[in-house]
Symmetry: none
Subunit: 244 residues, 4 copies
DNA sequence: TATGAATGAGCGTTCATTCAT
DNA sequence: TATGAATGAACGCTCATTCAT
């Protein structure tokens, strides 16, 4: 992972290019590799998410990707490789949308809320895929597992930045940023992991509201809390609409 | 699960008797069934936790349980049944220790801290088993999955009670108890789920301290917060030692 | 291989017990293992000899052995293991019959002829199996290949003994016994390896006669040659009939 | 193969032109066909010899030949065709060098020794390729197998001629030339087939010496033997140097 | 009740061969 | 002529489950 400075806007989503170097393919045409990998990964994410890694067969992935089973092995060496590609793709999804949403949002608390809301909505659109990361990372060989962990940490960095900004602005206490970030991340993932529990009692947007309120209380300085309570409505307002 | 009132102390750990009615065995001698199931479940938890459900074979479970492969099918109809037994056993572990620890602790904040610390320490002793629940619940048929969810909710009730008590005592705000409880639970599970991340930077006890501090800030009334800050040291003190 | 003294009669055929320690089986009942292995090896030798190692599928072996494909893997870890078992069995066949035939034959030249004839006849009854050793040994992992080589050297020892006796009796020159033995062995194997060439022009018995004559000329001392030419008829006579 | 009379010197090495008529290629440019086939055959011999026919993939051959996998199918209809080409090429190697070496050698025993030595040295330079013929001929369809056999018999003819000359010169007994020739050929092949056995105890040159001595004893008339023993040194001398 | 040998369906993976370009 | 992406049949092997003892 590269060192980054400034806000997370600076970061570009690099997609699964990252892994092109990890999971070798036999083919050489770069565009074709990209296209085929996309077919395979899309099919794999869908199936792995629904059925799990072990219940999904390579033939099923091939069928859904509209290619032959053999061809998968031109673009991944093993079924585990396909899983890695799939997991990294899921993690990349988190990174790819949020920075865009943050553009133009400057007020620290608003930035945090926007980032958090963005994550939650992406997770909400990919519930099974999010759970998949928790279910299946251990099915990966150790080395590849590290890649997934790094991918996760990288995605979290977007949240970490906004937390840091809130602290700098004296809105948040001088807490351990890493610890606080992980609390926020776990909360977001909770929406997927415990969806069976929350689904009957709230939707994403109310979940976002409740969560944000909860964590502002956990993190805010007295001044920050007052600030938050005054602006609560306006914070919720402009960003409450999901992107799509 | 039945409704319960009063403190969680009233609850008895019922162990895996719960499932005896769900997972039929061919054997009739009650004691023998219990003993055999314990052998099987202990072996299964160990192996599933380490290798995962699909990578563990029935023969391996049998070997580790010092029985024949065939005998497993006298006490469970399918491998999935064994998984259910294993998962319920893990969840039951959470319930079995905490109530004892709470005995005699009356001050609400202390009770919450004690319960939380107890959970964390149990999770810490069963890291892989905790992760197992997240990894493998979906490998269960729908109906059995519900049992696991219920088992989890039941375990959470211990925490919920203490949260409720804190609210009653005006130490905590009038928050949504269920939501708050799940935040606490996710935090506890985070110790297992993100152990690879936290291990290098903290141990269970510091994790408990940080977590408790974090969530008291999130939940406390202004009065509650002041109360907490005065007593911080004494809260940590007496209970900081793991039961061992 | 163990050191041996005296004539090869002293040696007992140990069959595939040798390899029981090399190729682990899952089963424990010794008799059953023996019986199953015999089924498998017999089927395998037949099929490998006819079709070759790679053209023969495990399913075919199973079918011909009247067991399921899966069961083969209770008695051998890989298809290569089955090949090893098969090759060792073939080599063992050479050893198992000859010593018996030699019993009671004391005259050195007669012993050599008897041993050579016995080998030839066994090879003749197992033409494809003999060729199999040449075709398929290289399909084995290095370590197992050594076992086959050792098995071959062991079998050759029977011939080597008789050559040594002829030298001791001053019937043969003081040649390099190992070299001479290998010439004799290659001659025997030639009957299988070049059978397509010899079949139209001779049968085993004439092949044995020609070969013996050829090698006596190659090895005999002047005295030995004279002795041989006087007794030619009687040497051929009594032993010409295959044991059947 | 056509009947031939006179010495083998008269014979021209015809290379794999022989098979051009058997293994059809789609290409028409004669020179290109030759060049491509050479690329393919060289790669195939190398790989087949090292890894065996079944372990070698067409893609590997293509890679080593610096052409595409598809192109192989312009010059051979099946992988078996490539094998045939490879085996015939190996056999042809035997024929291609020996006649040259024999030029100018007139004394019959010297001719035999020269031919035998030449064969041995070629085999020594192509140990795996020689073994390949034994391993893989059976992988060929019946009809093509006959071509290989004929190729072998043709190569042997060089030896047969020299044996015949020795007999004519009354140096050798009136033995069955074909039988004797095959003994000599098997001896030569033994150097490859049993190389694992002989390698630690002799090199090609000592092998040639021992072999020649052995077979002269087997074949010589009393007069021939005396003649040989007188000239032993000079026979060995001039030809003992490998062509390099 | 307990064993463990036996089954066989099903999976991941390979690779000879084809064919559009 | 030459490519190499694509196919898909076929194989070795695993393992949940059964059942005779």
């Amino acid at each position: 992972m590269v060192k980054r400075s400034g806000t997370s806007d600076a970061r570009e989503s690099q997609g699964i290019t990252v892994d092109a170097s990890q999971v070798r393919s036999q083919a050489s045409d770069v565009d074709l590799v990209k296209r085929r990998r996309k077919q395979i990964v899309d099919a794999a994410v869908e199936l792995f998410a629904r059925e799990g890694f072990y219940r999904t067969t390579v033939q099923q992935i091939a069928k859904r990707a509209n290619i032959s089973a053999g061809l998968i092995y031109h673009y991944a060496r093993t079924k585990e490789d396909v899983l890695l590609l799939a997991l990294l793709h899921v993690l990349d999804t988190y990174r790819s949308e949020t920075p865009t949403v943050l553009k133009g949002v400057v007020e620290p608390l608003a930035r945090l809320r926007t980032a958090l809301a963005s994550f939650c909505r992406i997770v909400d659109k990919n519930l099974d895929a999010t759970v998949l990361v928790y279910r299946s990372t251990k099915s990966l060989p150790l080395e590849q597992r590290e890649l997934v962990k790094q991918g996760e940490v990288d995605a979290n960095e977007i949240i970490a930045e906004t937390v840091r900004d809130c602290i700098k602005a004296k809105l948040f206490r001088e807490v351990d940023v890493d610890f606080a970030t992980y609390q926020l991340i776990m909360n977001i993932h909770m929406w997927a992991l415990k969806h069976w529990h929350f689904k009957p009692r709230m939707n994403v947007e109310t979940f976002i509201d409740e969560s944000f309120d909860f964590f502002v209380h956990a993190l805010a300085t007295p001044r920050g809390l007052k600030y938050y309570q005054q602006r609560k409505a306006s914070l919720r307002g402009p960003r409450a609409r999901p992107a799509k």
